[in-house]
Each structure stands twice: as C-alpha cells, then as structure tokens.
C-alpha cells in the first residue's frame, strides 16, 4: 500500500520536475514565440507542401498595441489573409472576401501556449548552427514522443530570434511542409495602410448561429484522443445562408491541432472519405444518432492513422432525444 502511494506521488511530481528542468532549448522557443509576435518585419518566403511550392510575402507589425499581419500569395492566383488584431479576413482569388473571425470569438492566442509551456508530448533539442536568408540561425528540433503527431525542425534567427525556416516532418523524417524565408527585413516602418482591405466584389461571413438554434444542442465527444490533446474551441456557424449549419470543435496538444465538424445530412447525399494535402488530413465518416444522420469530418495536421482512430471514436449526442 505504501508503495502504491509512493508510486502515485512520483507520477504526480514528475511533470513538475520536468518543468523545473526546462533548459536553454525551451528558452529559445519562448524567445522565438515572443519575437514572432512583437517584432515588426516584412519578408518573402517559400511555402512548400508535398511537391508544390509557392512564394508568399508576409508583413507583420504591432500597431496601436494590436498585432497586424498580412500574408500575400505572390505567384499564381492572388490570395491574402489579413489579420488586424482579432479580425481575420481571407481574400479569395475571385476578389471575394470571407471574414473568418471577429472580436467576439475571443483573443488570438497565437503561439502563446508554446511561449508558456511546451507540450509534454514533445522533446526539444538544439541541433546546431545553420544559415537561412543570409542570416545566421540556430537549428532546433521538436520531436514527438509518440506517433500521433508530427515533429518540427526549426531555424531561429540568432539576432532577432525570429523563425526563419520550419519544417513539419513525419515519423520517418520526411518533410511534409516547409516555410523558408529567402529575405527578411526588420523594422520596415509599416503603417495601417499596409493592412488595409482592398476593394472586393462581395463579402461573406462565417456567421455564428443564434444560441437558440437547435444545432447548439448537439454535443460532440471523442471517446479516444491522442495523449495531450484537449478541446480548445467550439462554434456553430452558417457558412452561407443557403447551407445547413456546421458545428465545429477544435482540439490541440499545444502545437498540433485538428478540428472536428458535424453537420446534419439527408440520407444518401453524402459520402465518407479520406483526403490529404501535405500535413493536412481530412477524414469524414457518417454517424447515425437517434434523431438523424450526421457527417463528421476531421480536418487537421495529424497523421492519417491517428485521424482515422479519432473519428472512429467520435460520438454525437443529440439533446432532442
């Protein structure tokens, strides 16, 4: 009996112990997260997923205490994501615009979790020196401790601590996605004009549902989640007026994230499937609840096998029954 108590106290103590031992690697990551959020910079980077490469431009500034960011796709079709504080807007190639989120959905916690504590499911190592975009960099590795998440290779600017290059790698070390700056300029003197919305032909909102809507009574639960994943956010939205509302539940382990969507479907009109782009996987599956049929879709940056296992364990509880 005494032994068991001892064992229990040991398991309780060990995470604290691990936190106390956070070494220089953790400090580096925290400094990076802080730099990415607080510094003003512009730069161009390569974005690569799978065999596809695109070039993008980023503008980032803190104006009036709010984080502003603009990502512009430089080749092919023009797509932009503009973030002004908590407002996030996506500008599509056909010059239409979608407001993704508004202030009422809560503050953006961009990389804040990483700054506060590094998830226990990862091991962080300093790998050595490197050079990216003509700047000296420190190479780091964020290695997952199980197979339910991807790892990362990071290159941090030695002067500013900005993230200059990052790769998402699968279990066999294959890079699934890569961001690599080719040029970066610090303190470029950005103003509000750099984050202004261009003229668009139409706007649409991913609008929230009123709390009284019956989809709000839908409860979504996963009976199995990979270790460390917790629910992060939940919302119910109409994508467009003519379409049925889709409920969403977010999950994250502090680094990786996936979202589970549920929508009511009529029989025979939907299909299950698996789709993958770079590190992003989408899996959908039909579920039958007492009151009807639902399509559950998981979208996220986790290995496909893990995604399939999660979606097999998703249950929908319907308050109407």
């Amino acid at each position: 009996m005494k032994l068991r108590v001892l064992a229990l106290s040991l398991t309780l103590v060990s995470p604290l112990h691990a936190l106390a031992e956070d070494g220089p690697a953790h400090d580096q990551l925290q400094a990076m997260s802080q730099a990415n959020r607080s510094l003003n910079y512009t730069g161009r980077f390569l974005y690569q997923f799978g065999a596809e490469v695109s070039t993008m431009e980023i503008r980032h500034a803190v104006l009036d205490g709010k984080e502003h960011q603009r990502l512009t796709h430089l080749d092919g079709r023009l797509v932009e994501v503009i973030r002004r504080g908590d407002e996030v807007v996506c500008l599509h190639p056909d010059r239409t615009l979608t407001r993704i989120s508004r202030t009422e959905t809560g503050p953006l916690a961009l990389a804040q979790r990483l700054a506060e504590d590094v998830p226990a499911q990862y091991n962080i190592l300093v790998d050595g020196d490197g050079r990216v975009a003509g700047r000296n960099a420190t190479r780091m590795r964020v290695a997952p401790l199980d197979t339910h998440r991807y790892g990362y290779r990071l290159w941090l600017d030695r002067d500013s601590r900005l993230l200059l290059k990052s790769e998402v790698v699968d279990g066999s070390g294959v890079a699934l996605e890569r961001v690599e700056f080719v040029s970066i300029e610090l303190a470029p003197g950005l103003t509000h004009a750099d984050f202004a919305l261009p003229e668009v032909i139409s706007q649409s909102d991913l609008s929230s549902l009123p709390p009284s809507h019956e989809m709000q009574k839908l409860a979504l639960s996963a009976e199995w989640l990979p270790a460390g994943f917790e629910t992060t956010g939940q919302d119910w939205r109409h994508a467009e007026d003519d379409r049925a509302p889709v409920a969403a539940q977010g999950y994250s382990d502090g680094l990786a994230a996936f979202t589970v969507f549920v929508e009511e479907v009529k029989d025979g009109s939907v299909e299950e499937g698996v789709s993958r782009v770079g590190p992003t996987v989408a899996v959908s599956r039909r579920l039958t609840a007492p009151s009807g049929a639902y399509l559950v879709t998981l979208v996220g940056e986790i290995p496909q096998v893990t995604a399939e296992r999660v979606i097999q364990s998703v249950r929908v509880q319907d308050a109407r029954h």
Partner: protein
Amino acid sequence: MNRDLETLSAFLDGETSELETRRVMRDIDDSELDTLARWQLARDVMHGQASAAVPADFNTALSAALTAEGAPARRPAWMSGMARFAVAASVAAATVVGWQAWETGQAGNTAAVPALAAAQDSRLNRPMGEAALVSQSLRPVATPATAVPAAQPRVNDMLLRHSDFAARHSGQGMMPFARLVSMDARHGAK
C-alpha cells in the same frame, strides 16, 4: 528431366506460377543453372539486348531472401477495427464528390487512377511528401457527379475554420494561414 527443362523454360519466360517459381529456385542444380544461363544469353542476343551473366549464387540469394520474407506480420487484435477502415479506404477507387477542393491539378490526374498503394509507396521514396493524393470514397457515391460545384465550398469553409482554430490554439504561428493561402490559391487556379 524433360519435364524439368519444360518448367525451366516456362520459368525463364515468366510463365510459371508463384509456387512453381519458388520450387524451381529451390531445386535448381548447377547443370540446370548453366542451361538457364545459356538460354537467357541466347534469348537476350535474339532480342538484341546487352547481356550480363547471372552470378552463380543468384538463385541462392534470391531464395534466401524469399524465405526471410516469411509470412506477413499479424496485427494485434485491438487494431482490427482500425485496419478494416484503412483497408476499405484504400480499396474503393471512386473520387469523393466534393473533395476536389483539396486536390491540385496534378493530384486530380492521379486520383483518376485507383492506385493508392503505388502512390503511397512513391511518397516514401520522395524527398518531400506527396501533395495531395488520397482522395477516395469508402462506399459507392450516391450523388451524381453534377453535385460537385455545390459541394466544393463546404470543404473550404472547414479549412477556413480549422485554420482559424489552429492559429488561435496551436503553437504554429502563421503556418495555418500560410496553408490556407496556398490551398485557396491552388483551388482557385483550377
């Protein structure tokens, strides 16, 4: 002996069954190996191919490799449900209606070929993972193909919302938005 030569000939032409092939490789002796090598040479010359003599121990190495391959590893019982799902996902060949939003032009061509296994193999051999290959249905699609345009934006909305969630709650910084920008640009280009 004559029967053996017939088998040998069939073996050379690739006309033996798997069982026969294994038997030939197990039982073949030096004289038969010589015969085989001569035939091979003759055939190669006839077909105008540059020939290279097969090393004498080639068959030994090959049968050793085949033996070592053995029976496929069994999955643990608790994995069976999952495995069935995965197998089902890779067997059905129909492209999911509405999932086109995920595909690049290149992947669209690949999806038309029901060769998921091959695609996955090549993915392992490439320095970078495949862009978008897995796009398959678990069951016959009930909706006619004309439903595609209407179904497309749904996936985009999910991607938008997932990117927003991920940007807020994951430690990945701008990555979710970079993903979104890239996929949206690609989708629009089709």
